[in-house]
């Protein structure tokens, strides 16, 4: 399964294909008939097998927001090429992203510094709580994106490490 959506911390692989009249959702070994019809007033009806469910959907970039049965959800699309390229490098550890929105209190490293796993890289503040960001592995700092006092959103790239040398 090439495509994937991230929902919370979980990644779900899936495919979509056309059927004679609508579409099919492929999840692992399961195949389910699926369709989405949007009405003139913006309300949308999702058909899943035999069920008809009213939904409201909005998208921005790779994010899909769905209101379903009284609750709002956010799914983030992962394009096959991005997902497979990322799997290759362990590059998840190269990019250090903000766990929540906030601002920088202090930065203790700069580009070129060698760091050890667990070493404090920077301290951020959010809603009067301070969070320490530590290095996930040994490495070298490639770039620091924000400086003291600047604000950022959740998932913003705060700092990147040089990719690890791959042993052949």
């Amino acid at each position: 399964m090439h495509h994937a959506f991230k929902l919370g911390d979980a990644e779900h692989n899936l495919e979509l294909s056309r059927s004679a009249s609508a579409y099919r959702l492929h999840l692992g070994e399961q195949v389910v008939d699926v369709d989405l019809k949007t009405g003139a007033d913006g309300r949308a009806w999702l058909t899943l097998g035999e069920r008809h469910i009213e939904v409201v959907i909005a998208t921005r970039g790779d994010d899909v927001f769905v209101h379903l049965d009284g609750e709002a959800y956010q799914l983030r699309y992962q394009h096959p090429l991005d997902r497979l390229a990322a799997q290759a490098g362990g590059s998840a550890e190269d990019h250090i992203r903000a766990p929540m929105p906030g601002s920088i209190v202090s930065v203790t490293v700069k580009a070129g510094d060698a760091v050890a796993k667990g070493q404090t890289l920077l301290v951020m503040e959010s809603m009067k709580m301070e969070t320490t960001i530590a290095a996930p592995r040994d490495g070298t700092v490639a770039a620091v994106t924000y400086e003291k006092g600047q604000t950022f959103d959740r998932d913003a790239l705060l700092l990147s490490l040089e990719p690890m040398e791959k042993k052949s």
Partner: protein, 535 residues
């Protein structure tokens, strides 16, 4: 177009017996196919896993669009050759949908002898590329091969349609503006290096993929140079230094995803215009085909019943319904595409031959693709018919078939004997796709006939020297011939030698023809032009 009225009694004992017999044949075929596709010695699978490789069908599954059909060619190629040790001739070919486009897939099966090229592997590959050329279909090569099988090199190297033809075909495709992508998933050595080399785009997997004209052992033997696989022809060298490979990938999944993305860039061809209407399932149940086909090759049956279980709505517009009744001609739709159908309902006589030639001309005039449903023992013989010009009339039909501009499709439903095969667009007559049914037979004449003829020759020979043969001696001459004939006229032999593009379970014929028709219409249909019809 009105619906064919079935005259079958599906409750009759004869029907039920036929159905049971043919279902069993279909199941045997499916089981043989399954074994050829999936049964491998565990050590071969383990070896691939250790090399971090996927199996060929896993690769194809990743390559194809989900929820789309795959028409595989010659799945049982080489089943009667090489002691059965080279299932599928160590490669998988077919037409599938990748990123919404119809493509030919040419994939090496490294779980069979490392994917080595046997003579039939080469033949199967050349055939796949011929299909690509004739139908103007892009090609995706999944390259993973150990190279030519040296002990049989004399049968795969030097001749016109042997290994070199693969690369010549690649160049023809390129000249015709038909794209090719290669995904290098193993070693592409010597000739094999030209598959990615002659492809418009190629992707190579880091660690397992390599391209070189000679591998490290041969290089060392030739010049004394010592060099590793990666340094000699690996991913990073070719994608960043030599430029022989276009896209590096860290895994097979990534390489195939990149290949899909490349195919997504291909310009879609304009389809030849042909009559089409929304498809309709046949009115009669296609599984009744099992009951229509007799258990004996010599026994006849009404081809109308076959047509009724293949075409849309079972509707058929019959041409000259009262004339030349041993050849059924008419128009129908298959998966919406309008086609002309020629189907045998007996031996070909003067009138049926003329009718056939004329109808082929009508189809060409209307740019209507033609489907040939074969059950033919041959043209009528005898003095009356020769005086009426049966040879001329057969010639006219063969002339029309040969020069037909519209795409042709042949299904060997039952018997395909002698010159009847020619008139009904056998292999030599450039049908875009040729399929056979499990119980079908193909040979210059029936086995019994041939055995009797050969025994007859011997008997007369010996009679001239005064000898007379006993029944046992006659049997001793007849039986081996009979056995040999029977073996080499079966659908399994034919498909093993790649005289057809695969055996089909009869109920799969409709879909196979639909996919074939759609693929064939990527090539424009030209104006008809014939040679001289001997009048």
């Amino acid at each position: 177009m009105k619906r064919i009225e079935s005259k079958l009694n599906t409750a009759s004992a004869a029907f039920q017996a036929n159905a049971a017999h043919n279902r069993k044949l279909a199941e045997e075929f499916k089981e043989k196919q399954r074994a050829v596709r999936h049964d491998r010695p565990q050590r071969d699978i383990d070896r691939l896993r250790q090399q971090n490789k996927l199996l060929v069908r896993e690769r194809i599954k990743l390559l194809l669009d989900p929820g789309t059909p795959f028409l595989e060619f010659s799945s049982l190629a080489a089943n009667e050759a090489y002691d059965g040790e080279v299932p599928g001739a160590a490669c998988v070919t077919g037409i599938g949908i990748v990123s919404g486009r119809e493509v030919v897939i040419n994939a090496g099966d490294a779980s069979v002898k490392g994917g080595a090229w046997y003579p039939l592997t080469v033949k199967k590959t050349v055939r796949a590329l011929d299909i690509a050329i004739e139908n103007r279909l892009p090609v995706v090569h999944l390259c993973d091969s150990a190279g030519g099988f040296l002990p049989l090199q004399a049968d795969l190297f030097a001749d016109k349609y042997m290994a070199g033809r693969i690369f010549r075909n690649q160049c023809m495709l390129s000249k015709m503006g038909i794209q090719q992508v290669s995904v290098v998933l193993g070693h592409c050595t010597a000739g094999g290096a030209y598959v990615p080399g002659l492809s418009d785009y190629n992707v190579i997997v880091r660690g397992t993929g390599a391209i070189f004209l000679a591998g490290p052992p041969l290089v060392k033997a030739a010049t004394g140079e010592e060099v590793s696989v990666d340094d000699l022809g690996g991913c990073d060298m070719h994608t960043s230094v030599s430029g022989t490979a276009d896209y590096p990938a860290s895994s097979e999944e990534e390489a195939i995803a990149i290949a899909r993305d490349i195919v997504a860039q291909f310009k879609r061809p304009q389809k030849a215009h042909t009559e089409w209407q929304p498809p309709e399932e046949p009115h009669y149940d296609p599984s009744e085909l099992y009951g229509v086909l007799p258990q004996d090759i010599k026994q006849g049956f009404d081809m109308h019943e076959i047509i009724a279980r293949i075409v849309d709505g079972s509707r058929f517009h019959e041409y000259q319904p009262n004339y030349g009744k041993t050849l059924i001609c008419g128009y129908a739709h298959i998966w919406g595409y309008k086609v002309g159908i020629l189907a045998n309902n007996g031996v070909l006589f003067n009138d049926s031959s003329l009718k056939g030639a004329h109808f082929i001309e009508l189809c060409n005039q209307g740019r209507t693709p033609i489907v040939f449903l074969q059950n033919i023992t041959g043209f009528m013989v005898g003095k009356e018919y020769e005086r009426r010009g049966i040879t001329k009339d057969g010639a006219k039909m063969i002339m029309a078939v040969s020069n037909s501009e519209v795409p042709k499709f042949t299904v060997m439903c039952h018997g395909s004997f002698g010159a009847g095969n020619y008139g009904m667009s056998g292999r030599a007559f450039d049908s875009r796709f040729t399929f056979s049914w499990p119980q079908s037979q193909i040979s210059v004449m029936g086995a019994e006939q041939a055995a009797n003829t050969l025994a007859d020759v011997k008997i007369r020979q010996l009679a001239r020297t005064g000898k007379k043969l006993s029944q046992e001696e006659i049997d001793a001459i007849r039986d081996p011939v009979l056995g040999e004939f029977k073996r080499k006229q079966s659908a399994y032999w034919s498909t093993s030698e790649i005289w057809d593009d695969g055996i089909l379970d009869p109920v799969d014929t409709r879909n196979a023809l639909g996919i074939s028709l759609s693929a064939a219409l990527n090539t424009p249909i030209g104006d008809p032009r014939y040679g001289v019809f001997r009048m």
